[in-house]
């Protein structure tokens, strides 16, 4: 896997995405007394998805803080702690509940540094488990990350591997700005090679996960592994795709995408959010206004969720978001017929 430093590290081993996040939290908390973790049930429960696990036993209830169910309040509390010297990491139990905290995230956290003329920083991290595939229906399955890519002052990342989950979280905690991390519920139990030591994955850099010449597939979050699986099948049919893991939604690494498009002349963007106004729109528009536009041999294809709230029915839920098969078919069609 290009861009993955793990291969070289003898101390790397396979752990899960959830463990990688926990390891990053533990490292940051051990290194820096300003780092605290707060959220609903992050303490003795260990987090709704088991991410914080035993951290409360290792760092105590003063640093792993169970909060009341008050999303607006806890987001604001993170802002207040951040502007006065702490480094809060806030877990929003399901990313859908950020809808209750938009005010503090968008009006306060994102804007304070600017509104105060640079006189205060807001070094906070918000962890947001998102995505569908668990049968949790319309209010517990959304992928709302695109909203935040629209907000200056925020940074937004979406790790797709255990390695990046750790490396991006450590970068986010270092960052003097508010950083939102969209994790994925389906990824928590996936495994991958992760170095034991503290390392950083830079915010704002995409990763080329597979090289290829016929088309570029930019994928985010849980779609990366589906895109890679589809690429494998495409290769068997003689179609060579380059798969880029976007990783960072704000800022977006246009250069890596554009370079790939200049090479492959075809672009498809795969993401789990609703297709309309999803992150694919921005990538498509960026390419369409860049000089890579001249290299395009076919219309840019976006593969996002159907225009529907996530259904409870497992059959409908699966159909609502891109699956490996959809990616395979769309990419094959893009290469063979220009996407029509």
């Amino acid at each position: 896997m290009p861009n993955d430093v793990a291969g070289a590290d003898p101390a790397a081993r396979e752990i899960t995405y959830a463990e990688a996040i926990r390891e990053a939290l533990a490292t940051a908390m051990a290194d820096d007394p300003r780092v605290i973790l707060m959220g609903e049930d992050v303490g003795v429960y260990g987090g709704a998805f088991g991410v914080s696990g035993d951290l409360v036993h290792r760092f105590g209830v003063e640093r792993v803080i169970d909060t009341p169910i008050s999303e607006l309040g806890i987001a604001g509390a993170a802002v207040g702690a951040a502007i006065t010297g702490m480094r809060p990491v806030l877990e929003i139990q399901f990313s859908d509940f950020i809808t209750l905290a938009m005010e503090q995230i968008v009006n306060q956290a994102a804007k304070i540094h600017f509104m105060f003329g640079g006189k205060a920083n807001v070094p906070m991290v918000v962890r947001l488990p998102g995505g569908s595939g668990t049968g949790a229906a319309a209010q517990h399955s959304q992928s709302l990350e695109a909203w935040f890519a629209h907000v200056p002052g925020l940074k937004v990342v979406q790790p797709s591997t255990p390695h990046d989950a750790k490396g991006l979280l450590l970068s986010a905690i270092d960052d003097p700005n508010p950083v939102l991390i969209f994790e994925h519920k389906l990824l928590y139990k996936t495994r991958g090679i992760v170095p034991t030591e503290a390392f950083r994955v830079p915010i704002g850099k995409a990763a080329v996960r597979r090289e290829g010449g016929d088309a570029t597939i930019v994928a985010t979050g849980v779609m990366v592994s589906r895109a890679l699986a589809a690429a494998e099948r495409l290769a068997a049919e003689g179609i060579s795709t380059e798969v880029i893991d976007l990783r960072s939604l704000r800022p977006i690494d246009l250069e890596t995408i554009a370079a790939s498009v200049r090479k492959t002349s075809r672009l498809m963007v795969v993401y789990e959010g609703v297709k309309t106004m999803g992150i694919g729109a921005e990538i498509s528009a960026m390419i369409a206004e860049s000089d890579a536009f001249d290299y395009l041999d076919a219309p840019i294809v976006r593969l996002g969720a159907a225009d529907v709230p996530l259904p409870y029915s497992p059959k409908l839920e699966r159909a609502a978001v891109p699956q490996e098969e959809d990616i395979f078919r769309a990419a094959a069609s893009l290469v063979r017929t220009g996407g029509a």
Binding site: G43, Y45, A48, P68, I69, S70, G135, H140, S313
Partner: protein, 333 residues
């Protein structure tokens, strides 16, 4: 409903006639058996997703709904199977919903967390803690504007009482004297966080003072008490005198959801509350006071079991939604 006190019976029990109590007991059994069966189906992979069981809390759901008419509204929570059945929904279409079938109350689109029975006056469970509270205010406004003889009862948990939505909603309901009854089902935990750790006041109903409305903290496992307290609040609402807050102290025997390892509470605590089972408690009180009688009680329970078994069959044999209908119901025409 007779309201004459009977000899040796506390007023809360004698306030309700045999038919009412039999129906209440039937519904409590239905809820319990519905949830036990749902849990079983879930374990066996027949139901997916997540669900929140209210086993142990049946008296609060059923008792509070006793004074409600079919045309009255309820707004429920993520732990809402009890409210749904108490308000009159039938287990067959509920199971069908849980199985993700077209015959379900929500045509398989909602599942446990969004089950609604609009025709029966249940305006829906809610996946958002406290999400129903502001909606109840609007329902109250609507009832008042249309001069309907209705009330709206909205359920929420102890955890929800710390959401801003709670505050905004109780305040509005009070200033506008809306026909809303706020029922807090205090099972002492919001997921893993106890009331003592989450809430800056001893009893949640004490917060009613901040909204100038009546607030009652009661034993939520005592069905006649819940029903009698709810009746006062419902009647007050119907008279146009405004909202009330009722806090039913109860306990959920099961974990919060399937991922719960019960690390935040002791086995002893759970066992102690199992002994306070609201169903056995009502049955005991009925027997002690010669109401209904043991044969009738057994019959009620057996009927409930049969109804649940049939409901599961209905659900199993129903059809799944068509893929072609994926984007149906996104917009109303």
């Amino acid at each position: 409903m007779s309201t004459l006190p009977r000899a040796n019976q506390r007023p809360e029990l004698s306030a309700f006639d045999d038919g009412t109590l039999a129906e209440a007991l039937r519904k409590m059994h239905l809820i319990r058996k519905f949830e036990e069966a749902a849990e079983d189906c879930y374990m066996r992979g027949l139901i997916h997703g997540t669900m929140h069981l209210s086993i142990g809390q049946e008296a609060s759901a059923v008792g509070s709904a006793i004074p409600l008419a079919k045309s009255d509204y309820v707004l429920s929570t993520h732990r809402g199977h009890g409210h749904c059945i108490a308000k009159g929904a039938s287990p067959d279409r509920m199971f069908a919903e849980f199985f993700g079938k077209e015959t379900g109350y929500c045509n398989g689109r909602g599942g446990s967390m969004h089950i609604a029975d609009v025709e029966g006056g249940n305006l829906g469970a809610n996946g958002i803690v406290g999400g129903g509270l502001p909606i109840a205010v609007g329902v109250g406004m609507s009832i008042k504007a249309q001069k309907l003889d209705r009330v709206c009862m909205v359920y929420f948990g102890d955890g929800a009482n710390n959401e801003g939505a709670f505050h905004e909603s109780l305040n509005m309901a009070s200033i506008w004297k809306l026909p809303v009854v706020f029922v807090c089902e205090n099972n002492n935990y919001g997921m893993s966080t106890s009331v003592a750790r989450s809430t800056a006041v001893a009893n949640i109903a004490d917060r009613a003072l901040a909204y100038s409305m009546p607030g009652d903290t009661i034993d939520g496992n005592d069905l006649p008490l819940v029903a009698a307290t709810a009746r006062i609040a419902v009647e007050r609402a119907r008279r146009g005198e405004g909202p009330s807050l009722i806090e039913c102290k109860t306990y959920r025997i099961r974990g919060h959801s399937k991922s719960d390892r019960n690390l935040y509470r002791t086995k002893e605590e759970i066992e102690a509350w199992k002994a306070k089972c609201p169903i056995r408690r009502l049955e005991g009180e009925l027997l002690n006071h010669d109401r209904l009688g043991s044969a009738r009680l057994a019959e009620i329970e057996a009927d409930a079991a049969r109804e649940i078994a049939a409901a599961i069959e209905f659900a199993k044999s129903s059809a799944e939604p068509d893929l072609a209908g994926l984007t149906r119901y996104v917009y109303a025409e």
